[in-house]
């Protein structure tokens, strides 16, 4: 088992953003998380990686201190470091890796990760000199540089062109196999759900309204997923302006 989320509840100033959520993701499995904007998907990922505390419930990972990586919705690259230093950051700064790699080895690792995301040769640029989609892919490279066992992707393909999206989606699948990692992919893009995930959950108003296979999500008769997939205004879900 990779991650188990049990009865998770999170409130922001009295408003329940996640209400008693439970699910599990096995090793070598990818779970897609979909739902409207503001339904608490990013919040869920932040709780899993320990950036936010839940009001109640627990997160169980195996192994207990598993290396959890996360890509951020808005990249969160260190803007005072070059692309090279950004990607090498965990390897040069984290206690367990410090001084473990020589400069040459680091160069090789970073070049290899950049190749994966299709951005060879931009090591010396600063994040502010990259487009949004390029920043996103650098963020992806930085997250996976330590070969983590649990990977959380917050909208890895949002804002990317279709070809780059496919590149990332393929790599999510490949990496999962290679590391036998458990992954969570938060996305609004059906293509990403379809290509990169094995099963999926859908959040609405803090609750899980769908839990099952990706195929079923895309083709099944659940009224919530039907509405989502067909992008219809009519259905059980209403967009609220809060």
């Amino acid at each position: 088992m990779g991650i188990e989320v049990k009865n998770l509840t999170k409130e922001f100033s009295g408003k329940k953003v996640l209400n008693n959520i439970s699910f599990r993701v096995e090793d070598g499995e990818t779970l897609g998380v979909v739902g409207f904007s503001g339904s608490g998907k990013s919040t869920l990922l932040k709780i899993i990686c320990g950036l936010l505390y839940p009001n109640s419930g627990e997160i169980i990972t195996s192994p207990k201190d598993a290396d959890i990586a996360m890509t951020f919705q808005y990249s969160a690259l260190f803007d005072f470091l070059t692309v090279f230093d950004n990607i090498a950051f965990p390897l040069t700064q984290r206690k367990e890796f410090r001084n473990k790699y020589s400069r040459e080895e680091l160069k090789e690792i970073v070049a290899q990760k950049l190749k994966i995301v299709g951005l060879e040769g931009i090591e010396n640029r600063y994040p502010s000199e990259l487009s949004g989609g390029m920043q996103k892919r650098v963020g992806f490279a930085r997250a996976i540089v330590t070969n983590p066992k649990i990977i959380l992707y917050d909208e890895p393909t949002a804002g990317l062109d279709p070809v780059s999206s496919t590149l990332i989606e393929n790599y999510i699948v490949e990496l999962k196999k290679e590391l036998n990692a458990s992954c969570l992919v938060v996305t609004h893009q059906l293509s990403t759900i379809k290509r990169a995930t094995d099963k999926a959950i859908m959040l609405y108003e803090g609750e899980i309204v769908y839990k099952g296979s990706t195929k079923e999500l895309l083709e099944g008769a659940n009224p919530y997923t039907r509405q989502f997939v067909s992008a219809s205004i009519k259905g059980p879900m209403k967009i609220k302006t809060l």
């Binding site: 932040k46 990686c49 320990g50 950036l51 290396d67 959890i68 990586a69 996360m70 951020f72 808005y74 969160a76 690259l77 260190f78 803007d79 005072f80 950051f89 965990p90 700064q93 984290r94 206690k95 930085r142 330590t146």
Partner: protein, 265 residues
Amino acid sequence: MINVKKTLLYRTINLLWTEINDFLITLGNIGKDFLCVAKTLTTLKVDKKALIEQCARFSVDSLPITLTIVAMTSIIIAMQIAPELAKQGAGNYVGSLSALVMVRELSAIMSGFAIISMIGSSYASEIASMAVTEQISAMRVLKVDPIEYLIVPRFLSGVVMMPFVVIVSTFCGLLCAAIISNLTAEITYLNFISSMWHGLFIKDIFVALLKSSFFGGTIALISCSCGYSTRGGALEVGTSTTRAVVWSFVAIAVWDYIFASVFYL
């Protein structure tokens, strides 16, 4: 019926309460960050490269403005006192008085002000903008302690470099005072220098260095801490920077008072 919530008294109390609350939270954050920094320091593991980088920034980057401010202050003081003292026949005391004022008080406090405006504000705003763009969260997810990576080198650079900044600025200030005294009151350089040593004790120099070290550490810690606890967006980055500057000013004034009463009362 009057609406209680709209009365002036209610709003005043409410505002006062918010201010007190803010004050306590800031104080708590600074205290907490200081403990974290202290805990890291006890492990004696400091990233040397980052430390050197920050030291260079703290001293070299701030030096032009620090020197200007301290030099101007001492020039003005010399301009005011040298002719007066010379008129009274006390020209021999210009050097010692200048040295006393500069070494005991003015160089450290004026350098402190310069450092707050140059370095403190930039520490606060850069760390605050990292906080609001989730860079600090990203650091935590990558299992790198942001306190250790960001705050410890800055704090240490303040503690170590501030005495150097103060030494350089004191020399510069006294040089300016000597020149001005010579120009305005015809006090010879030799006279100025020999008189300088009469006014000063080793204790003064020791206290000045210790005090500047405290100033440097305090400015760096408060600035980093105010930046680190920022939540929100561009507006809050501005608020945090202002808060860092104001708190640093007040803090060094308080330190100065404490040092004066402990060592000179």
